[in-house]
Symmetry: C2
Subunit: 337 residues, 2 copies
């Protein structure tokens, strides 16, 4: 049983393929009666436009791509990506766009995947995430001339429009809050050093602490293991920090466990802040003070921009809301030492 085509509809309705095409696309050129008849027949035999045939005539693929260059296991752990994806999905679904997803192991492979997809007209545009400094992917995508929205800091996105949030602002708010609570020795357990936003946060952290608090930064790979190890090291030092800001919730939770294991009471002896809120952060005891961002909204904004770009509109960089500090039980006044 073959899939029905407009030719089948045409012969049934006793008109030409073209009339069917017009009727089904809402174009003028057929009478309402004929149109209704054609639509009824199409409906009856379950006709669906063949996207391949449409694409052949230069139509959109109605699909956008996302290649993720992170170890797959991180995806299962970091709520960030799934949050982003579900936000993206929300916008795409409303426009009947699909998301083509691929996990890759290197930036080179990622560029290849994008070239393939674009060359084969499988996608109308892509998202670029996890910017590095002097990111080769930016130049590559600019060269290909395809619609791209960078999810990351605009300083490194070249001519590509970016959707970003002011991490510096969030850092300042956090440090200000901790300092106001009396903390004078604060640490930051950061993510991957090579990511642009890590450096942005690092610099903002240093600047915010300058003159008001001792500060130290440790870089990790975002995993709970490294978060735990970093915490252990920090808490073992003679002048241990009274507050630690983690770059994600996984590490913050791991850090909390380490503190409890070492007999360091939270928040009495140590305040903990997690970057990116999540059910996980709220579920542990004490619940974690977190930098809340609406990540799905973030993804949704990026998706809206990408669709606009695909539609030919010009899209400026968009600054999304900065993270907002949500104080919970894991932060408190510094103990007067």
């Amino acid at each position: 049983m073959k899939r029905p085509t407009i030719a089948d509809i045409a012969s049934r309705a006793g008109v030409s393929k073209v009339a069917v095409s017009y009727a089904l696309n809402g174009q003028p050129g057929v009478s309402d009666a004929t149109r209704a008849r054609i639509v009824a027949i199409a409906d009856e035999i379950g006709w669906r436009p063949n996207s391949a045939a449409r694409a052949l005539n230069g139509a959109r693929a109605n699909c956008v791509g996302l290649a993720l260059c992170r170890p797959a296991r991180i995806l299962g752990v970091e709520p960030y990506f799934m949050g982003l994806i579900s936000g993206i999905e929300g916008v795409l679904a409303a426009r009947s766009y699909a998301l083509l997803l691929q996990v890759v192991t290197s930036h080179q492979q990622e560029s290849e995947v994008y070239r393939h997809w674009w060359g084969e007209s499988r996608i109308d545009g892509v998202f670029l995430v996890d910017l590095h400094y002097s990111d080769a992917r930016v130049a590559e995508l600019e060269r290909l001339g395809m619609p791209v929205v960078v999810i990351g800091h605009p300083s490194e996105s070249g001519t590509l429009p970016a959707v970003w949030s002011d991490d510096g602002q969030a850092v300042r708010e956090t440090v200000g809050y901790l300092v106001a609570l009396g903390h004078r020795r604060v640490a930051r357990v950061a993510g991957l050093r090579e990511l642009v936003h890590t450096t942005v946060r690092d610099q903002a952290f240093q600047a915010a602490c300058e003159g008001v608090a001792e500060h130290v930064i440790v870089h990790t790979d975002y995993t709970g293991e490294q978060g735990a190890r970093a915490t252990r090291r920090l808490l073992s030092s003679p002048d241990r920090p009274t507050a630690i800001v983690y770059d994600n919730d996984i590490m913050a939770v791991a850090g909390l466990s380490v503190a409890q294991e070492m007999g360091v009471e939270v928040p009495r002896d140590l305040s903990i802040v997690a970057w990116d809120d999540s059910p996980l952060a709220q579920v542990v005891r004490p619940p974690l003070t977190a930098l809340t961002r609406d990540i799905p909204a973030y993804g949704a904004h990026a998706a809206q921009r990408l669709l606009a770009l695909i539609a030919g509109e010009s899209v400026p960089a968009f600054e999304d809301q900065a993270g907002v500090l949500t104080p919970r039980g894991s932060t408190g006044p510094a103990r007067s030492s």
Copy 2:
């Protein structure tokens, strides 16, 4: 600058389109010398096959679909899906298959999405997850006649091949272990009642406890909130359980927090087991005893079967490894009451 087509290559090489098509597809019909020349030119001008044109001739889409009917926020929290997806991705990537992903809000919408994708030749097959009893999607997909692999229990997958694991086995191992530790009152905090695997586990749990331990089952929606509430209720009852088995790690962690908050010491007063291991389960204190499954491998097996099915092979149901109990600090001997 238009994308190069085989016509461009043909004119450059001074041969016909057909020769180019044969050469680039490794078909006989062109001499090695000509083939080499054509390939060189194609390479030089960066030709890529246009998948739309190929699809028009009935070729594969080189893409499989997955529609997820769960609230988007669950995705960000449950490691299960991302684990599954990354396992699927691993297999697909090696064969240059992409994954088309869409989050939907109802089974009806899910069926529609599949119909669309299939009708539009965008995919060669799909995965079906989260089986319900008398699942309308099964009949629908059977009717469409497209390649489908069900990730779930074969008893409800109709004629569609299933990839599944024996949850009953895992339940028996867990209950046996708890009973051996002296537990005589055990509870199960289960997931969505309407899912097939929930019932399978429920029944196995009841059967395993029969005669050796009092048992109670509470159903939830997999969220930490409901996991916490269920735990609170269980621990407040006069004959509270000495062990609780949770259907995912999120609820287990939430339950652990509730226990600590209520002054119930784990594992002294309460043993906790989580279904599905994760970094999160290992990171909390005490680390959670878990039913470890290699979820990415599970996804990989499903993907292999789907590709085989697409290739026209016949695929029998495949029983993956059952979960294996990984004892950690959250379980211990029942306190002699």
